[in-house]
Symmetry: C2
C-alpha cells in the first residue's frame, strides 16, 4: 500500500521515542519533559506528519544548544476567567506549553461547556492535529490555531510575506468511526512540500507559488524568491490573517513582520503564539446520539457516488488514522537521509543511535 523510498527502514514507536528522549536529555531537558515531548513527536510520526515529528529533532536540539529555548521553563497561567486562560510558556518547548494549555482548556470545558486557552512565549509544537485531538478522549471537540514560524505568504495582491502558513486544526469525535480531524494551512502547498520538490529536483505545479512579479513559479529551487499562494485567493489570505490574530496578537505573541525578525536568530525567543479550545458535546446534544450521527455522516460520505476514476472518498483525518494503524503495527519509516541526519545528531550528542 505504502510506497517507500529506497533505503527506508522502519523503527518501532517505542525505539523512536527512546531515541528522542536520549537526545533531549543530552541537550539539557529534564527527563520528564524530554519524555513528554518525545511522546508527542512520536505520535506525530505515527500519524504520518513526517515533517513535524522526529524530522524536526535536529532543529530543536540546535535551538536548545544556541540558548533559544528555555530548558527549565515555568509554564503557568498568567490571566484566568472561568472559561479562558492565558498561558505563558516561558520560552520552553512548545509541546510542553501546548499540552499544558490543552489540559487547562479541557478542565474548563468540563465545568462550563467550553474552554479557550491562549499561549504566548511558546515555541514550535509539531502538528496542529496533535492538540486539537487532545479533547477527543474527553468527548469534546478540539480547536487549535497557531502562528507558523516563517512567513511565506503575502496579503492578497501584496509582494511582502507578512503572513505564515498559520495552521488551523479542528477535531470532532465519532462513534465507531475514526474521528474527523481537519489540519490545514491556508496555503495551496505547505513550504515543506516545496522544499521536498527542490530536493528531488522536480518542478512545482502551477498554483503553488508566484514570483515577485505575480507570475506562476514552478522552479522549486528558487522558492526563496517567491511567495506561496493562499487557498481560494483572498479567502486563504483572510484565514491566515484571522488565525494569526487569534493565535498571535490576542496572546501578545509575535505576528506579522515580527515573526521573520525573531526567527533570524537561533538564540532569541520566538514568542510563538498558539490557541486551543475544547467544546463539550454534552452541553449541546446527547453524546451517543451525536456520535451516531457523526458515524452516519461519515458513512454517507464514504459510500456516496464518486467522480470517474476516484477509487475512494476519504474523510478528513482518515488517511492519518490509516497510517497510525500501519505504523503501530509495522513501525515508523525513516528514510536513508533522515537516518543519516539522526545518526550525525547521535554522534554529536554522544548518545546511542535510533537503529
Amino acid at each position: 500500500m505504502v510506497t517507500e523510498e529506497t533505503g527506508t527502514r522502519r523503527v518501532s514507536a517505542e525505539k523512536l521515542a527512546g531515541f528522542i528522549v536520549r537526545a533531549f536529555a543530552a541537550a539539557g531537558l529534564p527527563q520528564r519533559d524530554a519524555a513528554i515531548v518525545a511522546d508527542l513527536m512520536t505520535e506525530a510520526d505515527l500519524r504520518g506528519s513526517d515533517t513535524h515529528g522526529v524530522f524536526r529533532l535536529p532543529q530543536y536540539v540546535r535551538r536548545i544548544r544556541a540558548g533559544g529555548i528555555n530548558t527549565s521553563p515555568d509554564i503557568r497561567i498568567i490571566e484566568e476567567r472561568a472559561s479562558t486562560a492565558m498561558v505563558d510558556g516561558d520560552n520552553g518547548m512548545g509541546h510542553l506549553a501546548m499540552k499544558f494549555a490543552a489540559e487547562a482548556a479541557i478542565d474548563k470545558a468540563r465545568n462550563t461547556g467550553i474552554g479557550w486557552v491562549g499561549a504566548r512565549m511558546s515555541n514550535h509544537a509539531g502538528p496542529a492535529a496533535l492538540y486539537a485531538m487532545m479533547p477527543l478522549r474527553h468527548d469534546m471537540i478540539g480547536f487549535y490555531f497557531a502562528v507558523s514560524s516563517l512567513n511565506h505568504l503575502p496579503p492578497w495582491g501584496g509582494a511582502e510575506p507578512l503572513l505564515g502558513t498559520n495552521p488551523i486544526a479542528i477535531a470532532i469525535p465519532a462513534g465507531e468511526e475514526p474521528p474527523i480531524v481537519m489540519d490545514m494551512a491556508p496555503t495551496v502547498a505547505a513550504f515543506g512540500k516545496v522544499r521536498l520538490q527542490a530536493a528531488r529536483g522536480e518542478p512545482m505545479p502551477v498554483g503553488w507559488m508566484i514570483d515577485r512579479d505575480g507570475k506562476p513559479m514552478t522552479d522549486a529551487t528558487r522558492a526563496d524568491e517567491g511567495f506561496l499562494l493562499p487557498i481560494g485567493d483572498y479567502k486563504g489570505y483572510a484565514l491566515a490573517l484571522i488565525i494569526g490574530l487569534l493565535a498571535g496578537t490576542l496572546n501578545r505573541a509575535a505576528f506579522g513582520r515580527a515573526v521573520n525578525e525573531v526567527m533570524k536568530s537561533q538564540s532569541i525567543a520566538s514568542n510563538t503564539g498558539q490557541s486551543i479550545a475544547a467544546l463539550s458535546i454534552e452541553a449541546f446534544a446527547p453524546l451517543e446520539e451525536f456520535k451516531r450521527n457523526v458515524d452516519d455522516i461519515i458513512r454517507t460520505i464514504r459510500s456516496s457516488q464518486r467522480l470517474p476514476n476516484v477509487e475512494r472518498i476519504w474523510l478528513p483525518g482518515e488517511q492519518s488514522h490509516h497510517k497510525l494503524q500501519d505504523r503501530l503495527a509495522s513501525g515508523i519509516p525513516l528514510t536513508a537521509t533522515l537516518r543519516r541526519t539522526l545518526g550525525e545528531l547521535a554522534k554529536e550528542l554522544g548518545i546511542d543511535p535510533v537503529i
Copy 2:
C-alpha cells in the same frame, strides 16, 4: 467609484427598512419582530451583501405564507452551562433566533471570557458577518458558523452534493481602523454568483464548477447539472464538513442529505442550524494594547509592497465598510429588476411600495 446597472435607483436605509417592516407585518409577523428582521436585512444591504438583504424578502414572505416559518415563535434556551447555551428557534425567522443567540453568547463571554451558543430549528438569517460582528461593540471577537440552505458541494472526489456552501465568519475589532471581518463560504464561488452569470448570459471561469464527469463546467445555465468546487481542493471540503458538523449536527439541526430533503418544500420547517461564539479580548490582553496592535497590522498590510498592477491591498471586511459609508450617505442601490420584484410583492401584500 461604484458602477451601477442602468435603471438602478438609490433608496435610504430608513425607507428600505420601513418597506420591509410593512411587508413582514402584512405577512403576519408581529410589528416588533418585523422591525428587528428589517433592521438586520437593511444592515446586510448597507454592507453590500446584495444577495442576503432585501433581495431575499420575496422568498421569506413566500415561505411565511406557505406556513414554512412560525410567525409567533417561542425562541428559548433549552440547555445551558456557564459558557454555552443551546437555543431552540421554534422555526421562527432566523434573524430573530440569531440575534437572541448572539446576545446570549455576549452575556456569557462577559461573565466567563467566552460564550458559545448553538441554535436548532432556526432559518436562513442573512449574511454570516452580521452576527459575527455583534460582539464587536462589546470589545469581543465574534464567530459564526451556519449550515447553508442548499447543497451544491460534493465531498472531494464525490459526485453527490452532500455539503453546502456553509459559511464561516469571524470578526475582530480594531482601534481607529474598521474591524477585520472575514465572511466566507468554503467554495471558490457562491451559488448566487453562478446564478448571476446565468442571468447575464455570461460563462463562468474555469475553477468555479465541474460537471458530473469531473470536467470543468463554464456554462452557468447548466449549473444544476454540476457541482461547486471547494477552495484548496480537499481543504475546502474539510472546512465545509466541519462547519456543518459544528452548526448542524452538534445542534441537532439538519445536515447532509437532510438539508436538500427539507428544502424541497416551502411549508416544512428547515431546521437550520447555526452557532455563534463571543470571545472577550480583555480575558487575554489589555484592550487598548490589542486594538493598537490590530491597527498596526492593518496599516502594515495596507502599506506593504504590492504586486505589479495591484492598486490597493484590502483588509477582510474593508470593502464592506466602504460600501456601508457610501450607502449610509447616498442610499442603497436597487436594480430595476429588484424594484420590479419588490413592486409586485407590495401589490400582492397590499402595502405601499419601497419607492
